[in-house]
């Protein structure tokens, strides 16, 4: 697994092997939701599922990277957005992420707390709000 630091350069999955598989039938359904799409060969959804797997490896590792740069242990929508913005391959996702708030600038240390850029009301853990830690 130690195939070097460049995640997407050596093989498309950077040596990461994903064991869990997508349901092929579901992929086929998504494909055929497009009215223009007619018949699909039996192997085709299998191929698309594989492409999707590689895509996920790429997007997830990059998003995690963005989180790490910001010293966050949780990958937030803003990190995904940053990952999308950072690569041409993900241009088609620009609209989807546009509704997401930007994550703070990378490399900022000592903002300390997790995930404060999420829109209000979404936090279920609300530790901060309850003001439990007196040193805050």
């Amino acid at each position: 697994m130690d195939t070097g630091g460049d995640e997407t350069h050596e093989s498309a999955s950077g040596g990461i092997e994903v064991k869990t598989k997508f349901p092929v039938a579901r992929i086929k359904r998504i494909m055929q939701a497009d009215e223009d799409v007619g018949k699909v060969a039996q192997v085709t959804p299998v191929a698309v599922a594989k492409a999707l797997e590689l895509f996920m490896v790429s997007l997830i590792t990059r998003s995690a990277g963005e989180a790490r740069t910001r010293n966050s242990k949780r990958v937030l929508p803003g990190h995904l957005k940053a990952a999308v913005m950072g690569d041409e391959q993900f241009d088609f996702l620009n609209e989807i992420v546009s509704k997401v708030q930007d994550a703070p600038v990378a490399g900022q240390k000592g903002l300390g707390l997790e995930g404060e850029e999420e829109p209000e009301g979404k936090k279920k853990r609300g530790r901060r709000k309850k003001a439990e830690s007196p040193e805050f």
């Binding site: 699909v40 995690a64 790490r68 995904l80 979404k122």
Partner: protein
């Protein structure tokens, strides 16, 4: 199934549990299993995935149409990936497609063998039963000793 028209999210989404598992696998392999995806991020990711599938399908469909083909084949998918800027995915997809075709071939071979025997399914089952009976007899004989 009839609410599909407006892309009603549920049916055309990916199963959350599966996606969650995959996220974990990838993060662990990436070297940091302590990092987690927030729920919102996971849902956003799922949206991105569906968009990706749609993108590939649409492009593959166009390519197939240009070749006057009515069925989207694997080759159209790989061509679409090339066009859309994912040429690095193609080798692994070719591999998966090859393996799938091999499996198909051996499945069909078994099917053909059954058909070629010239017997109906009932006759084949009867034959099988006969073989079982013979085997049982043999066994009974030995056990009786």
């Amino acid at each position: 199934m009839s609410d599909r028209e407006f892309g009603g999210a549920d049916d055309l989404s990916l199963p959350k549990a599966t996606v969650q598992k995959i996220i974990q696998e990838i993060l662990a392999a990436d070297g940091d299993a302590s990092v987690a995806f927030s729920k919102e991020s996971r849902d956003l990711l799922i949206e991105c995935c569906v968009e990706f599938v749609t993108l590939i399908s649409s492009e593959a469909n166009e390519i197939a149409e240009k070749e006057a083909k009515k069925t989207i084949a694997c080759e159209h998918v790989t061509a679409a990936l090339q066009t859309l800027g994912y040429p690095d995915y193609v080798p692994e997809i070719d591999k998966v497609a090859r393996e799938h075709k091999q499996q198909q071939a051996s499945r069909e071979k078994k099917q053909t063998k059954m058909e070629k025997s010239g017997l109906t399914e009932e006759q084949l089952i009867a034959q099988q039963q006969e073989l079982f009976n013979q085997a049982n007899d043999k066994f009974a004989h030995v056990a009786a000793d």
